[in-house]
């Protein structure tokens, strides 16, 4: 039981961390609240399903192709629908909502609303204290950690990462220092959507694929981001694991818990916000006037 809780909590936590970091990156750099973020995650899952089932491509290759394709779709959507109206925050907000709905409906049209699944990459399981842990779960967890480490390296060790971080800190000054703000925003969008696609690829062998699969992660992702502090990577990371573990605790321990999992996670978020309005690791950043 405890092992089950920990395993599923860690896996959920890593997926939420992947999603939340992408979401918080694009918010930090371009001030875009991208509701469609998890819709890209759903599209990536569908791409992998299509490639493996309909075209018979090897799953690993399918995942790589899906990540590339979804990143491309994300960039096209950004250029077409979001970039022209960046000045109007409310408009951007609904543009992303509308994008998410459009993607959901397109997937519904192509694949119908059936619950689909993708076979695990590796079969078999490990036994620890009489508890079965599928190798797939371990693989998912390991890959997620690896990607998180990769993002960390990208942000802290490369020039692009430096540009992203400085733009997030102060857009105008970054622009004055010779960084092309709109290019940085574009690159960040690519990284952010890529991360969402990665999250989709990582989670797809463990979950079912259906057109509404973006809703629950969206809510959890937002809770994670708010809990950890907007724009704080460490915050997103810690917040994701806190909420992931809380969610699986509720599901396993409380009767009717599956209904309450969202409620409990969100209540934790609100409680933390009451004590620290800027989130766990957020910096109360200067009001932009």
């Amino acid at each position: 039981m405890i092992i089950d809780i920990i395993i599923s909590g860690l896996i959920n936590g890593s997926v939420y961390a992947l999603l939340a970091i992408g979401f918080s990156l694009i918010f930090g750099v371009a001030r875009i609240v991208n509701i469609a973020h998890t819709a890209f995650y759903m599209v990536a899952s569908y791409c992998i399903y299509y490639a493996t089932h309909q075209m018979g491509v090897h799953p690993v290759l399918a995942m790589l192709v899906a990540i590339g394709l979804v990143t491309l779709i994300g960039l096209i959507c950004y250029k077409l629908f979001i970039d022209p109206i960046r000045e109007h925050e409310a408009a951007v907000l609904i543009a992303t909502i509308a994008l998410a709905i459009a993607m959901q409906e397109i997937m519904l049209l192509i694949f119908t609303g059936d619950f689909l699944s993708v076979p695990a990459l590796v079969t078999g399981y490990l036994k620890i204290f009489e508890v079965k842990i599928a190798y797939q779960q371990l693989l998912t967890f390991a890959v997620a950690l690896l990607i998180l480490a990769g993002v960390w390296a990208l942000l802290k060790k490369t020039r692009l990462g430096l540009a992203i971080r400085s733009t997030a800190e102060d857009r105008e000054v970054a622009n004055l220092m010779g960084m092309n703000e709109s290019r940085v925003a574009m690159m960040t969008m690519a990284v952010s959507v890529g991360l969402a696609a990665f999250a989709g690829a990582v989670v797809v062998p463990l979950s079912v694929v259906h057109p509404h699969m973006w809703m629950h992660p969206l809510i959890m992702m937002m809770a994670v981001v708010v809990l950890g502090g907007l724009g704080s990577l460490k915050g997103s990371f810690v917040g994701a694991y806190i909420l992931g573990l809380a969610e699986s605790l509720v599901v396993f321990l409380i009767p009717m818990g599956a209904f309450l999992k969202g409620s409990v996670a969100l209540s934790i978020m609100i409680l933390v916000l009451l004590i620290r309005p800027e989130g766990l690791f957020g910096v109360a950043f200067e009001e932009e006037r």
Partner: protein
Amino acid sequence: MAVAGFYLRRLYTIFKGEVLVLPSRVVVFLFFLVVLFLPIVTQDPYLLRILILTSIFAILAASWDLLSGFTGQLNFGHALFFGVGAYTSALLNLHARIPPSGSIPLGALGAVLAGLIIGIPCLRLRGTYLALTTLAFPIILMGIVFAIPDITGGELGVSGLDRLSRSRVSDYYITVVLMLGLCTIMWKITDSNTGVIFHAIREDELAVRTAGINTTRYKLLAFSLSGFFAGIAGGLYAHFMRIAGPSTLEVSMSFTVVIWAVFGGIVTIYGPVGAVFILFPVLEFLRFWPEFRMLMFAVVILFILLYMPDGLLPWLRDKIEEECPRCKIRNVATRKTCRVCTAPLD
């Protein structure tokens, strides 16, 4: 007779001077006329049903605008007020046997309470934090609804409520008159001193505080006012559909309200109302292609936003009317000079 003629002539002069001078006022006047006299022309129950639902959602969208448009407190969980209003009036009607005329206002009071409860923690948050936090509340409530199916009916909701009234036509008049009345009240509120303060809070909260105004009190007032109107919409919806289900609390419900309001143009009150009256019937008539319905809805919104990011109705209004550069009074776009101060318009 002469006296009646005098008043009639005076009424006509006022009408000519105040309503006919501006196309937007003519449109609003025609809208009132059409909506009020429609049942004389047709009593098609399906059409009336669509218009009843449209009116209910128009109240909801306008109440979102009152809170989020005017005070800038971006609320992503507006479904909470709607759902609380619907569930409260449904439960009161079913268990305490209070008729709709009592249960709807009580449901609205429940929504005001909800507004105060979520308003207090949300006062410390702003902008995106606030938006993302408010999104959480209806989901928390929905979890609770599902967890105690004995009281709330779980997934099936509370059903078997009293009808709003005996016939479809009187249902229509109740909702439409309420819609027109409440939206006018909301518009008047935003036009009053309170509304100006709301607007100022949106622009610069710090400056408002510096002017000695208790912004906390005004923000809470905005939350409870908006909750009240949305709660009435929820109660009407519950009694008209005769069921209060978890669909009233869904995330997509909150998102739809935001879409309506921003599509019509925020900070206007008439914008969201107009948007609902355009989008909701259009969406109903698209039922011939049910599978493309939501997709087309989303695509239309994406493209309209590209060309009119401030919303549809303000964009249209700017096309047909022009603001006088000197006295800031609006004029028909065809005029060469201002109708009040005769300054040249360009």
